[in-house]
């Protein structure tokens, strides 16, 4: 990794990344982030922006596309006809992005976590495979992006999915990534992490809100710099935000990390 950061040739980097990255993915993986998106995230955003809102979602580390398409399916079902959305889906790997753009999945892949009612609404058979319907595919833009770089263009975003990727980085890098996400997340937006991930003990500028079996994170007002949009002082749209209180002593979580 040291050599990669020092600027190895792009082809080397791509090859190493393809080999290292696990692209294991399923449709509504973990289910709870998508449940949270449906409610309370979408209703709160519609309350704040009105029924004709345009919502922007960033799916970071999108792998072969199941996550951004699952987000698009959820929004297509949850939004009123007056509202619109688009999803920016990024990944380091050009190889998985090419697959994701095609929007074609094998029978075995659609068996993984895809609710049957969603399948018949949003995919059609294409030979032995299934293909995301063009209307939904057109809502998702795929772009190569490295989380170690500046945030991708296209923000600010209402919702960011950053799941099962922070685990690959050391603590200072995790903190830097979360800071960059805050720069492009709207002040009343939501961050969704993987089931085993949290901002707690990494970056104190987030409030955890419990939603069902999972959690979402919203940026705290203090020091918020969100793409030039001032943080609102009015009541936050989420109910009962929980301050980010570590569940284990911070010293355990942040051992060896620069403060």
């Amino acid at each position: 990794m040291t050599r990669l950061r020092a600027g190895a040739r792009e082809t080397d980097l791509t090859a190493v990344v393809e080999a290292l990255t696990t692209n294991e993915t399923s449709w509504f993986r973990d289910t709870s982030p998508f449940t949270a998106l449906r409610s309370p995230v979408v209703p709160a955003l519609l309350d704040a922006r009105g029924a004709s809102a345009h919502l922007r979602v960033w799916s970071a580390a999108c792998s072969t596309g199941q996550e951004p398409y699952s987000i698009a399916m959820t929004l297509a079902d949850a939004l009123p006809p007056t509202a619109t959305f688009d999803v920016l889906a990024t990944d380091l790997s050009e190889q998985v992005l090419a697959r994701a753009r095609a929007g074609r999945y094998s029978q075995l892949e659609v068996n993984r976590g895809m609710p049957a009612p969603m399948l018949v609404r949003h995919l059609v058979r294409a030979g032995a495979e299934w293909e995301v319907v063009p209307h939904l595919r057109s809502r998702v833009t795929f772009r190569a992006h490295n989380l170690l770089d500046a945030p991708p263009p296209g923000g600010p975003f209402d919702v960011v999915f950053l799941r099962n990727v922070l685990i690959y980085f050391d603590l200072p890098t995790k903190r830097a990534i979360l800071h960059r996400v805050r720069q492009v997340l709207r002040p009343d937006g939501a961050l969704l992490l993987g089931a085993a991930e949290t901002t707690i003990g990494i970056d104190d500028d987030w409030a955890r809100v419990s939603v069902g079996a999972g959690s979402l994170y919203r940026p705290l007002d203090a020091g918020s710099v969100t793409a030039g949009i001032p943080a609102p002082r009015s009541a936050a749209p989420w109910t009962a935000p929980t301050p980010a209180v570590p569940v284990v002593p911070p010293s355990v979580l942040t051992r060896g990390a620069p403060r």
Binding site: S26, V110, N111, G113, A116, V120
Partner: protein, 127 residues
């Protein structure tokens, strides 16, 4: 929890049952829809039925229709487990009252994913 596995292939019944046991299910088996209805009418209570489509005597779709016609069985979650993979067939099964649809061949993880979606995984077994 209890599950009823309905398939005319004994091998397939064994495979489906084998994926359900580690997830905390006690399984009962029937070789077609009529035999499965007999078990339910005889007092067997299950939370889940895994149903093949193409079977002799009574096929899976007819079984789904029969179960949905009896309010006493409203609590049973119905999941088709079949090689039938046409878009229109899935729509037919869902319209008849199936909750989920798993296409053969499948992996144990796919069964788990479906049960997670259906809220039928025990605590601590979530994907």
């Amino acid at each position: 929890m209890r599950a009823l596995v309905i398939d005319d292939s004994r091998t397939m019944r064994r495979i489906v049952s084998g994926t359900l046991h580690p997830l905390g299910f006690e399984t009962h088996e029937a070789e077609h829809g009529r035999a499965a209805l007999d078990l339910l009418e005889g007092g067997l209570d299950v939370e889940l039925a895994c149903i093949d489509w193409n079977m002799p005597v009574m096929d899976g779709l007819a079984f789904v229709v029969a179960v949905r016609a009896n309010p006493a069985w409203r609590h049973i979650t119905l999941m088709m487990v079949t090689t039938e993979s046409e878009h229109g067939q899935i729509v037919r099964a869902l319209a008849a009252g199936a909750h989920e649809y798993l296409i053969k061949p499948f992996t144990p993880e796919a069964v788990r994913d479906k049960l997670d979606l259906l809220g039928l995984l025990p605590i601590g077994e979530h994907a």
